[in-house]
């Protein structure tokens, strides 16, 4: 608890390609390292990063230490360099850094398909759905796993690729007889009536379960109707139709942009 004193931000950011974001301070750099260790590339600490640390963050001593490690060793121990950055950032406690080190070590020793699955999870939580799909697909290529399939199908739904999602859920249902897969197929049909996969399996669902799903779906629709954003659009529509048309243009453009960013 307290106020962590920081240096001033960099004038020019460091572009972290894996996350597609600009980083402006040593604390932000530490944050992304600590929270997304799965996506740290094997050559993360390089001369480009040390130059940025020295020139933009004015942390010459840290940059010199990192460069020294980089120059003396042929096989660079990235973990050591990353931990050095965390230690110098005045952001995480020693205890947290030790915990990170343990996690980071584990990550390096896990199977490739597990790693790719975790990578997919990380991208999904960051809202990078395109990259999440790629990771899950690669993981499945190496090792078939229903849980990963479920995640992949869920990601397809998030980016509104309902047909692909439905095919996957069907495959899962056929293999595992999972009721959840059927439920997802049912919801896909609600969201995109053209995808009728659920109709093939409707007879195997008992009436009570179906009623329960219907209720859940209706509740979700009601919640969505009362969402602040929906209300805002509805209010504009009530006030003036021409204003609504103008607003709609902007909103559609915004949603398109958001959708593209997800991919």
């Amino acid at each position: 608890m307290g106020l962590l004193l920081c240096n001033k931000d960099a004038r020019h950011p460091f572009y972290y390609e894996k996350l597609d974001i600009d980083i402006w301070s040593i604390q932000e750099l530490s944050y992304v390292i600590y929270n997304y260790p799965v996506i740290i590339p094997e050559d993360f600490v390089d001369h480009k990063l040390t130059t940025w640390i020295r020139d933009e963050l004015s942390m010459g001593i840290l940059a010199a230490k990192l460069e020294q490690y980089l120059s003396v060793s042929d096989e660079i121990d990235q973990e050591r360099l990353i931990v050095l950055i965390l230690k110098e950032s005045n952001y995480y406690t020693q205890l947290e850094i030790s915990r990170f080190q343990n996690e980071f070590k584990k990550l390096r020793n896990i199977d490739k398909h597990v790693f790719l699955n975790m990578l997919g999870d990380t991208y999904f939580h960051m809202g990078r759905y395109g990259k999440a799909i790629e990771s899950y697909e690669e993981s499945l290529f190496l090792n078939a796993d229903n849980k990963v399939q479920m995640k992949l199908a869920g990601t397809y739904v998030t980016v509104m690729q309902f047909r692909k999602a439905a095919d996957l859920y069907e495959e899962i249902y056929v293999t595992t007889q999972s009721e959840e897969a059927l439920y997802k197929l049912y919801l896909i049909n609600k969201l995109e009536p053209a995808v009728k996969t659920i109709e093939k399996y409707i007879d195997v669902i008992d009436v009570e379960t179906l009623a329960g799903w219907e209720l859940e779906y209706n509740n979700a629709v009601t919640d969505a109707e009362h969402d602040g954003r929906a209300k805002e659009i509805y209010d504009i529509f009530q006030k003036s139709h021409s204003a609504f048309r103008e607003h709609a243009k902007i909103m559609v453009l915004k949603w398109k942009r958001e959708y593209r960013a997800k991919l």
């Binding site: 608890m1 307290g2 106020l3 962590l4 004193l5 920081c6 240096n7 001033k8 931000d9 950011p13 974001i21 600009d22 980083i23 402006w24 301070s25 604390q27 932000e28 944050y31 992304v32 005045n90 952001y91 406690t93 020693q94």
Partner: protein, 405 residues
């Protein structure tokens, strides 16, 4: 060769001291511009050119700059800063004297931030380098003057009377020689101020003597003084003030220096350029009287981050720090008055109106700046956390009262 220049400025007279702390000269604070060409004269020469009908005079230059007013001469409208720039240019003899560098300290009675900015601008336009300009109050100049004297003259309290036209002030300087050596200086205007023209007659002189004696008895009471100083044009000749002089000279030394403020300013600027530190911390109307700090965490250790140090010129004191909130939504300040160090004041500034985010992902920029000698304005701005958690740009502004209550 560099010139060290102290200038005491008021509406009537300007007192200037250049390089020699024993000599100060007076000039009326007036400027005249020739009606036909862009020639400027100041002081007595300005009066002469006006009497000759060739010049147009502008007076009360300090009031003009305080009001940020204008003056129209020969159909040309001049802003206060333009007029004062010409005045300084002539006063410093910038055309005729080729000094390598002028280091100038201006002393005025009440230096507000706005007036200081305008005076600095005028001096820059007059040819003085920005880094060589200092603005002090009369109170601070008095402190510099006294501290430059024999230490025996200020081993206890020091008093000073300033007598100018319609202006009678009493100054007091308390000296503390504890663990932190400091002098505390303050002044007060006396209501009994009078026009110096009354000194031209014997009866007027007697009245003036009576007034000064009454004031001295009231303000000095039974206090023990190391010394008493007299300053201002009214004390260029003290023959009229027999009773007053008898009263103040009892068991103490009295020194008369009419140009004390200008000399004090010259001493300051010279010490500054020679890198001499101040033996005593000066606490006065242009200096901060308290230490202000914030507790911060550096490498898991709690440290005190000084924002304001007592004795610093408050007008030049501003700070800006970036901090990350770690499981707290407030900033605690500690204000320690130099005169009451045993009772530091703790103040909390709440930041709970900033957006709620994951812990340690709200960075704030805290900037501090003095509004006046007793009020520190603190502005805290939400910076978010880079592109990961965008800033809301919300700002919280609060003021810390540093006056000794």
């Amino acid at each position: 060769m560099s010139r060290y220049i102290g200038i005491s400025l008021n509406d009537d007279y300007t007192c200037i001291c250049i390089n020699d702390k024993t000599i100060s000269t007076y000039h009326p604070t007036v400027i005249a511009r020739d009606k036909n060409d862009d020639t400027w004269t100041i002081g007595e020469d300005a009066y002469k050119s006006t009497l000759a009908g060739s010049g147009v005079i502008v007076d009360k230059l300090l009031s003009l700059i305080e009001k940020n007013g204008t003056a129209t001469i020969a159909r040309v409208k001049y802003h206060a800063v333009d007029i004062l720039a010409h005045y300084f240019h002539e006063l410093l003899g910038k055309d005729s004297i080729k000094a390598d560098e002028d280091l100038v300290a201006i002393t005025i009675r009440k230096p507000s931030r706005e007036v200081v900015v305008r005076i600095k601008e005028a001096l820059i336009r007059a040819g003085v380098h920005e880094d060589n300009i200092y603005i002090l109050s009369h109170t601070e100049s008095f402190a510099h003057f006294v501290l430059d004297q024999d230490p025996n003259l200020y081993n206890r309290m020091v008093g000073m009377f300033e007598l100018n036209n319609q202006c009678l002030y009493y100054y007091e300087m308390h000296v503390s020689r504890g663990t932190r050596r400091y002098v505390m200086v303050a002044h007060e205007a006396e209501e009994e101020a009078f026009n110096l023209d009354i000194l031209k007659t014997a009866s007027g002189g007697k009245i003036a003597d009576k007034i000064l004696t009454t004031v001295a008895e009231r303000v000095m009471g039974k206090n023990y003084y190391s010394s008493i100083f007299l300053s201002g044009r009214g004390f260029q000749d003290t023959n009229f003030a027999t009773n007053f002089m008898n009263y103040i000279c009892k068991k103490r030394r009295v020194l008369i220096e009419p140009g004390m403020f200008a000399i004090g300013a010259e001493i300051y600027v010279k010490n500054k350029s020679e890198g001499k530190g101040e033996d005593y911390m000066i606490l006065c109307d242009t200096r901060s009287k308290s230490d202000v700090s914030v507790k911060v965490v550096v490498n898991e250790k709690v440290e005190s981050l000084p924002i304001v140090r007592a004795g610093e010129p408050w007008m030049d004191t501003c700070s800006s720090y970036d901090m990350i909130l770690d499981d707290q939504d407030f900033i605690d300040f500690q204000v320690t008055s130099i005169t009451k160090p045993q009772r530091p004041l703790r103040l909390r500034m709440m930041l709970d109106s900033f957006p709620e985010r994951e812990n340690r992902t709200t960075k704030v920029r805290m900037t501090t700046e003095f509004r006046d000698a007793d009020t520190l304005r603190v502005t805290v701005k939400d910076l978010g956390f880079g592109d990961i958690f965008p800033a809301s740009d919300k700002e919280i502004v609060e003021e810390i009262d540093l006056s000794d209550k």
